[in-house]
């Protein structure tokens, strides 16, 4: 062992599987081979609420090559606690697009053709798919995702608002959004006796294994989930989705391996989405801009199948100092699919509202929006009273201001012109929790001088395999070329999900400590690797209990320049800058990709993305990528991400905070604030579409340019 090797953590190491990916060698779920595969195509419900009165599979079964048609009539009951995954368990339809049947056939073509010919009779009931303010059925849930109280209250917010020198009382709305990973949800299921193997696209093979075992009444040891490469998830593959259950069900029904890949359109129905939100934010401040009251009240939707309440107001519990505070969530169960995790649940929509309201407060106080935020820095976590493990939002704002050229900004809105364009700039703060979950890893030295690290981690495109290679190399004190990291397989030591920006912190802790233990064992063996190798194992469950002693969050600042065409309402974003304080950055290249990818999603949230509910028939109207718009290259001009190195000893062995989601947090607010600076008009409903800009055109100078 040598210790004088330069640390590889922090460098821009190329993705270790990059060559495999660009040459097509990397195998994704649907590409796994098996003998005699049967293909499965699900039949989506055509109504939003009601009862199935009959399923006539006759015409489908007559298609050559069709093996069976599965539905609640013949499918065996499934166990498990997620009603979205207990497919074909009853004759009830809870949302349009819910799987009501599936065709299994020799070929994909036969299955697709036959799926069209399954005749499903319905007794439709009136449905309600639209979230609206003050819905009579709205209620306060017991908890919000994952386990926060739905309501928090400190002091007397109403009295403080009444006494405040300056107040803002404003309501923002965000629409539903779909995760839309590049790789559709797909599974190949193979039974061997009572053992099940699933090649599957997911954000955590251990989690998927446990779910499958529960659904089919098996021991976890009877199930293996293999997912070495995953083409994105953005939360939608964190909770297993019905295609994995369907593949296993179909494979068992026909006694052959079975493959399912969801279509893009069906993904809009059954793979989760972000709830729309209606958010009222009230802020009260004294004349100097110091907040005395902060109220953030959220209405959002869940389904009739199971409750999922996004923690939208939760960031308002920790972001700013205010002695009087109220945060509430109310949900209404509609005839819709269950909303779920998507790209920074809670922080993303909640910080849009809070950071937009902060901009309104800055205008009301006549303060620079950066200065307003500096004046409301909390010394400690306002909710728990815990000390911050580190908190550098002010540094992000100040450094960002210098890099962006914020100094000397004229705060007057609606006065800068460049030809036909109105020009403005905006800023917003950003935050995301820095959590860990228990994970296990092994590290093994072999006599050939190489090291193998095993953990059921997931690389959903983020670069985690590469980051873990760097962490292991530094912990072992060897160059990364000598380290093989094996992930994406539930047969490996159990690991937490790729989700909540927790992956690298959770897995990296286990990997680093397993490698440290291995070094100790190697040192104990005099540095000699025995012929049959030497191994160490580490479980972080106990270490993580100590995390509760600090409030642990990453922070950032987002800066945007926008140009608004008052004639057409079009908005361009020539510049975006994000500055982040997220502990130690493990890989400079993949980290930058994570940040600017998240910021691009934030730009999409501000201007483009919107799942339009179909009030008449249920489901969503724009359920494909021709109509659900994410940014094209031409929409993202100059985008830059920078970071401030933090030395935070309270985090984990790497000193890192998660960076997967903070990039999206605050971006939409920064753009919305810049649109206000450009036009003088505050748009409080996302996305800021051209027609919405034109609706307010009489308030914008120079409409008829």
């Amino acid at each position: 062992m040598t210790t004088d090797i330069e640390r590889v953590t922090g460098t821009a190491l190329d993705r270790v599987e990059g060559r495999d990916k660009v040459t097509g060698l990397a195998r994704y779920a649907y590409e796994y081979p098996a003998d005699d595969i049967a293909y499965v195509v699900p039949v989506p419900a055509a109504i939003a609420r009601g009862t199935i009165t009959g399923i006539d599979p006759g015409d489908a079964l007559a298609v050559p090559g069709v093996l069976t048609v599965l539905s609640f009539r013949n499918a065996p009951p499934l166990a498990g606690n997620d009603p979205e995954l207990r497919i074909f368990s009853s004759d009830r339809v809870s949302y349009r697009g819910q799987m009501v049947a599936a065709v299994v056939a020799d070929t994909l073509e036969a299955a697709a053709e036959a799926a069209r010919l399954v005749h499903v009779g319905y007794d439709a009931e009136p449905h309600d798919v639209l979230l609206r303010p003050d819905h009579p059925e709205a209620y306060v849930p017991e908890k919000v995702n994952p386990s926060f109280p739905a309501v928090s209250e400190q002091g007397d917010v109403e009295a403080a608002l009444g006494d405040a020198a300056v107040t803002v009382d404003t309501t923002y709305t965000t629409p539903a959004y779909h995760n839309n990973a590049m790789e559709p949800h797909a599974t190949l299921a193979v039974w061997s006796g009572d053992r099940l193997t699933a090649y599957d696209s997911n954000q955590g093979s251990s989690t998927a294994r446990d779910m499958l075992a529960a659904a089919f009444g098996l021991e976890p040891g009877q199930v293996r989930v293999v997912s070495p490469h995953v083409g994105g998830g953005f939360g939608s593959k964190g909770t297993p989705r019905p295609q994995i259950v369907l593949a296993a069900l179909a494979a068992r029904a026909v006694g052959r391996p079975a493959k399912v890949a969801l279509t893009r359109q069906h993904m809009f129905a059954v793979t989760g989405y972000r709830t729309p939100s209606i958010q009222r934010v009230r802020l009260g401040a004294d004349a100097s801009g110091r907040m005395t009251a902060l109220a953030h009240e959220v209405e959002e939707q869940t389904s009739t199948l199971k409750e999922f309440a996004e923690q939208t107001a939760v960031p308002s519990r920790m972001m700013y100092a205010a002695p009087n505070r109220l945060t509430t969530h109310r949900v209404v169960a509609l005839d819709v699919a269950t909303p779920s995790w998507m790209r920074a649940p809670g922080e993303c929509p909640g910080m849009y509202a809070l950071e937009s309201a902060m901009d309104e407060l800055a205008v009301a106080c006549g303060l620079d929006p950066i200065e307003l935020r500096v004046r409301n820095e909390p010394e400690e976590d306002p909710e728990s009273g815990l000390p911050w493990s580190s908190r550098n939002v002010v540094a992000c704002l100040r450094e960002g201001a210098a890099w962006f050229g914020w100094a000397g900004r004229d705060p007057a809105p609606g006065v800068r012109r460049d030809g036909r364009w109105l020009v403005g700039t905006g800023v917003a703060a950003s935050t995301y929790p820095a959590r860990r979950r228990p994970s296990e890893a092994t590290a093994r030295a072999t006599a050939d001088g190489r090291f193998t690290v095993r953990i059921a981690a997931a690389d959903i495109g983020t670069g985690s395999r590469t980051a873990l290679t760097q962490i292991a190399a530094d912990a072992l004190g060897v160059p990364p070329e000598r380290v093989d990291v094996r992930i994406g397989d539930s047969a490996l030591p159990t690991a937490s999900l790729a989700g909540g920006s927790m992956g690298t912190a959770s897995w990296g802790s286990a990997v680093a400590m397993a490698c440290v233990r291995l070094r100790e064992r190697l040192d104990g063996a005099g540095g000699e690797v025995p012929e049959d190798g030497i191994e160490a194992r580490y479980d972080t469950a106990d270490d993580i209990k100590a995390d509760a002693a600090y409030a642990r969050h990453a922070f950032g600042a987002q800066f945007a320049e926008v140009r608004v065409d008052p004639g057409t309402g079009e908005i361009r974003v020539p510049r975006l800058l994000g500055v982040f304080a997220a502990g130690r950055i493990i890989n400079a290249k993949t980290a930058r990709s994570q940040f600017i990818g998240g910021m691009t999603m934030g730009l999409a949230m501000a201007l483009l993305e919107e799942s339009v509910p179909d009030a008449e028939f249920g489901g969503f109207l724009n359920h494909d990528l021709a109509q659900y718009h994410v940014p094209a290259n031409a929409d993202v001009a100059n985008i830059d991400a920078r970071w401030i190195e933090e030395d935070d000893p309270h985090l984990n062995p790497m000193g890192s905070k998660g960076i997967g989601e903070i990039g999206i947090v605050g971006t939409a607010a920064a753009i919305g604030n810049a649109v206000h600076h450009a036009t003088g008009v505050r748009f409080r409903d996302l996305p800021i579409r051209p027609d919405r800009v034109l609706d307010r055109a009489p308030q914008i100078g120079g409409r008829n340019l």
Binding site: R116, G567, T568, V612, H629, A632, D635, P690, D691, L694
Partner: protein
Amino acid sequence: MRFLRPHTWAEALGAKAEFPDALPLMGGTDVMVDVNFGRARPNALLDLTAIPELRTWAPDGDALRVGAGVTYARLVSELADRLPALAAASRTVGSPQIRNRGTAGGNLGSASPAGDAHPPLLAGGAEVELESVRGARRVAVEEFFAGPKRSVLEPDELIAGFRARPATGPQYFAKVGTRNAMVIAVCSFALALRPGEGVGTGIGSAGPTPLRAYAAEEFLAGELADRWEKRDALPGPVIGEFAELVAGAARPIDDVRGTADYRAHVLRVLARRTLTWAWADHCEGGAGCA
């Protein structure tokens, strides 16, 4: 499903006569999407990509004859000087991959009101060449569209190509979409000035078919009649009236991409802008007057 792949134009016409319900396939950028989504379930596909003559263009008298298989990418790289508005529209179609596959002939075949090629073909006074075993005919583009995604194409006919005169003056195409690329037009507008002769217009995505703004053309031609030579500034009210007449010619609806009000308003803006740009070019004896 039958798959027909003729290698000559004569074979193609024969196949279409024999299988009138065969769906012609060129770039596949509309047809294959419809097939994959289950919106089109043709009994036969007639693949026209193996017919070399469809991929050619050539001058023919005072016009250009462009085969139905010339891609958007080639309209940009080979014909931008002679058909500038069509080339400008072609640049806004899809992604580079789509522009390498898709064709203006296929755009006509789909006859979508949002087809990007249609407004410049309308403004440029193009004619569509239709042919069957019964013979060939030419139809003015504005006569070609019969309704949303419907045309006057007979069941046994194929689109051979289109004919258009090279630009004699400035031409512009403007499109508003909800993002900067890879987007279906919320609405679009093309303008062609023909100095000494007249004016052509084309409206996209603001009616059941692509439309010409006849009254706007007539009005502007009258206003420009004695200005072509003078090349003086156009009075604001002339530009404003032209824009009103363009918007008045549209028959927009509300849909997921935009509202009718938004479309009418934006058409006004696009008409005003394209006229301002085109007239400035004319006054400078600019690039469009080659």
